[in-house]
Amino acid sequence: MNRVFSHGRLRLFLLLLLAEHPRHGYELIRHMEDRFLGLYTPSAGTIYPRLAALEEEGLVEHEEAEGRKVYRLTDAGRAELDAHRHELRDLEARAAESARHLAHEIRHEVKASVRELRQELGAAMRDVRREDRRTAREAAKQRHDRIRDAARNRWGREDRWDEPWRGARPGGRGMDSEHRHAGDPGAADRDEHDGDERRPEEGGTAADSPDRLVLRSLGGDLEAFVTDVMTAARRRPMDGEQLRAVREALLAAREAVIGALSADGST
């Protein structure tokens, strides 16, 4: 509530209080609080610099008493006060009369802080919403890619037996791309290994062979895996190190799965 005083008024009010009799800083604060019906308490950070400024202007002087600075008005200060008597009358009227005069000011100030808070939070909310929309757009795009890929698998490239697999990776940005971005030197190796695994299957190309159904169900599992991982990732922001750890875990999982598949294949 520091707008109770317009500029320059606090200065005059301090001079007035010191004209009554010499006081120390804390006494001035208490006194002003009383004058303003407890509604305005100037802080020490407001009062002491003002007193120092007044002293510099030669309007007040101080002496040390019991470790405290007691301020008193100088003749120059008294003259200054007389010159502004009329302003003071207005100020005193405001201060001494009643809470009503401050009520308008309080209302004004509370309204201002309310407006400020609403603006701040409104801006914060807009940011959150924007982020939400972005995430939603991304999710929609992933869904779209997945559907498109699935459609391609089914209608466009029937001859590619492994498409359900690929389709399971949202927009091809699933583990495969993560894995490539990681720049893992073993990647090419494993891809080749994958190829090795697939080759023996290539003979059975009937569109609705049991193998294909197995692959489809595996694709579903993988899709669920990707969704779960992405959900978990979205919920928790990661730093670079965590991301690396997660990628390693994904590679390990991949290796384990492929390992299991090769074991099956070899028997």
Binding site: L37, G38, S98, I106, K111, L117, E120
Partner: protein, 327 residues
């Protein structure tokens, strides 16, 4: 000891001592109420429409201006300024008069139909009710319970032990620093709820909305549920509203008309009121079908609890900036 201030008179200036309790029942105009260490003082002027009666009886002050029914054509209005000891108990009821309250620390009850409620530096036990008036509080500590139908509720700097906010269409914006052990709740039908907590807040929260967005701070540990216990949550809300409705409906004349408006507002908010009696709501009917979202989570150690619920409004919890201390 009693005084009567007639319309058009010079007004009244009265020093009151001692004063432990004040009750103001007014219609229009302005009311300012301040806690102060100087002697209690009452000022009344700008009286129109009907005389203002003042009683002082054993430390209890009553100021009353009768409602429009008894005043004829001119709308009753008065400007009342009262300073009281901070710990005094204060009750203010107005129809359209705006209220400014500052520096009080006792038990306070403010209610208005369309007047604004503005408060600053309040601590203790604050109760504020409004139909369409806005509630704006800057610096409030202790217990705060506030109900509104369409009026917005804004709390800046709430260092609270207990908070209960309920609105129908009114927006709730609160900058809170719940004390350890504090219980805070905000419930609305369609009004959005936005709560800001300090960065180091220690709060366990639950935010649920049937069809609105729910945003919570990223750093919070959260779990999400898609089948919330609606019955429980909403019957609680309904209970609070039903109480408010009964309180308002109990008022005669114009006030009862306003209660009708309140019911309209409820219906307009997309909720269906299944009967005339507000208690229909209390029976816990589910006004809308669908699956909602409830997010439970924790910030820090979770020393305080925060429950936010809105039927169709958005709920946002923001964490970050500090809450300013109450003077």
């Amino acid at each position: 000891m009693d005084y009567i201030v007639e319309p058009g008179s010079d007004g009244l200036l009265l020093d009151l001592e001692p004063l432990d309790e004040a009750e103001l029942r007014l219609v229009g105009g302005e009311v300012s109420l301040a806690g102060t260490s100087s002697p209690a003082r009452l000022e009344i002027d700008g009286v129109t429409g009907a005389p203002v009666t003042v009683w002082l009886d054993d430390g209890v002050l009553t100021v009353e201006q009768p409602g429009p029914l008894s005043s004829g054509l001119v709308r009753p209005r008065a400007t009342v300024a009262l300073t009281v000891p901070p710990a005094a108990r204060a009750t203010v009821r107005t129809e359209s008069a705006a209220l400014v309250a500052a520096g009080l620390a006792g038990e306070m009850s403010f209610s208005t139909v369309s007047g604004e409620l503005t408060g600053t530096c309040l601590s203790g036990d604050v109760r504020a009710r409004t139909v369409s008036g806005e509630v704006a509080l800057d610096g409030v500590a202790g217990r705060l319970r506030t109900d509104s139908v369409s009026g917005h509720v804004t709390i800046v700097g709430g260092l609270l032990q207990e908070l209960a906010v309920g609105t129908v269409t009114g927006e709730v914006v609160a900058d809170l620093d719940p004390r350890p052990g504090a219980r805070c709740s905000c419930r609305t039908t369609s009004g959005p709820v936005t709560v800001r907590l300090p960065a180091d807040a220690s709060v366990e929260f639950e935010a649920e909305s049937l069809s609105g967005h729910v945003d919570v701070p990223e750093q919070a540990e959260t779990s999400e549920d898609r089948t919330p216990p609606w019955g429980k949550a909403w019957s609680g809300t309904a209970q609070a509203w039903a109480e408010t409705a009964q309180a308002w409906a109990g008022r005669a004349g114009e006030w009862a008309g306003r209660a009708g408006e309140w019911v309209d507002t409820l219906a307009g908010a997309g909720a269906r009121l299944l009967g005339d009696a507000p208690s229909t709501w209390a029976s816990g009917c589910l006004p809308l079908g669908g699956v909602g979202r409830v997010v439970r989570g924790r910030l820090g150690h979770g020393d305080a609890t925060l429950r936010l619920a809105s039927l169709v409004g958005n709920i946002s919890v923001v964490s970050g900036a500090p809450v300013e201390a109450v003077a």
